[in-house]
Amino acid sequence: MWIYFTRRLFLALAIVAVAVTLLYVMIHAVPGDPASIMLGPRATPELKAELRAKMGLDEPLPIQILGFFGDLLRGDLGTDVFTGREVGQIVFEKVPFTVTLIATSIGWAALIGIPLGCYSAIRRNTIVDKVTGVLSVSTIAIPSFVMAIYALLIFAVWLKVLPAIGAGAGGLLDTLTHLILPAFAVGVSWVGYLARVVRASMLEVLGENHVRMARAFGLPEKRIVFRYALPIAVLPTITLMGVGVAYLLSGAVFAEVVFARPGIGALIVDAVDSRNYPVVMGCVVVTTTLFVAATTLADLINALLDPRAREG
């Protein structure tokens, strides 16, 4: 158990290290250097040299990478060249907004998707099952940004029932009403994903020996489903949700832009627009770490709940 935990954590650290190194190497493999990209075409050579020195770009590549890792370990993500503020501070003050959005989205999707999948599996091949199946595929097929724009159009522009802009000025109710549309847009395809996965794994579990045994003992169907089948059938959704954080992050980028919500997504889009290099780097490092942390956490929870997963 502990061996698996340590190995998995070590692997996660290695993956983040490789990803950050790749990013760094990619930046340098590209023609034109960050300094001239940031300063635009009319910068003088002296200005460029000064900025390169300031960003540490004039040192050899391995030294730069090591230095970057050293800074990362000290929690230093660099300095925003435009405002002079620390990138770490800028990024981390946006993290709560994005995490709230992602958690709300996956939360409501799980509350609806898991029971829906469970019901479909029990009432297999009924109308409800077939409608759920087609609806699942359809919601998966609609990209989150199209969903976000359509939700904005219907509920904020036509019906004018929900606020479209920002994250609310404060107050729980205000925050919640501002969260409804973005969370709907980001989460809706997850209802479909989760329903499909739970349905499939539920069908598998319902055919297993211990369930047949419970049936043979004459246990009531409700008890079989909720006590013996469902706890096993939801296990695959944990891994799915861990991997899904990447898609949720991408979905959050669009939702934040469409609904003008503050968050990492809105931040990185702004930073790319203004070629604010250190901020882009900071956002990529933080989101990548978040994603790897989520998949690792999902794997660890899975291993904790399901002894079979520890062997792999």
């Binding site: 490789v18 790749l22 940004f145 199209v146 990447a246 991408s250 669009f254 990185i268 290099y277 990548t288």
Partner: protein, 302 residues
Amino acid sequence: MRTSDTTAAEESRAEADTVRGAGALLQTWRLLRRDQLGMLGLVLVVIMVGSAIFADLIVPYDPTQIMVGPRMAPPSWDHLLGTDHLGRDTLSRVIAGGQVAFLVALASLGAALSFGLLLGLTAGFGPQWLDNGFLLLFDGVRAFPVIIFGLATVTLLGPSLWTVIFVVAVTSIPIYARIVRTQTQAMKNNEFIVAERAMGAGTPRILGVHVLPNVIGPLLILASMDVPLVITTEAGLSFLGMGVRPPTPSWGTILNDGYSYIRNSPWPVIAGGIPIVITTLGFTFLGEALRDIFDPKLRKDL
């Protein structure tokens, strides 16, 4: 229980199918016709791909020509999907946008497949240390959320069609490479490979003649199911203004323009989103039907 008669009959039919390639196609078509959602998918895909191929012939107006009609007009007989804020014909832009979407899909998936095959075969057939190194590299690349990686790349390369293709290709390579690697490793110690090696065949021959044909089938099905993902990424980046540059029409830029004027006219937004949904649905339905026919083992949900 199968009787030996039916097995023999099946075998002879399988043989006949390999003799006549057309027979296998016909068989697939028969199976596909029974799948209603699969047929729906095929129809949608044919419509979308067809309109992209013949875009230049069927567009009613020049998609980049401004003021072919009034600004922000609702649908009418002259402009079936209305016009945008510059008075461009939205239907023409939607049709031309399909061309961009499928061009990106074809180029990026083609590149991802070739590199994925190459790296996967190397990792699967090469020495252990190389395999481990590649795996770590693949996982490192996959650790970036696609859109975030795309945005970072745009900062470096600037927004363009080629940047989008590059982003999709780079993020898809590890996925295909991993699948090829696993399949190659599973096949490496098969008897027919060992026999081939004993007869003195070199690694290129084994990989090219024996391993490649066995891994390419499932890979192509997976790639065709990834088409929606690619189209979504292209439209998404273009929507953020980080993909295809104006005035080139793309479903994403149509959505972006429409979003800016959403309070004036809903039509550009509606027209820009629907083709993405139709294409995605079409490829998903068709892909799932084909997968069930060719290789039920690939099913993730059963």
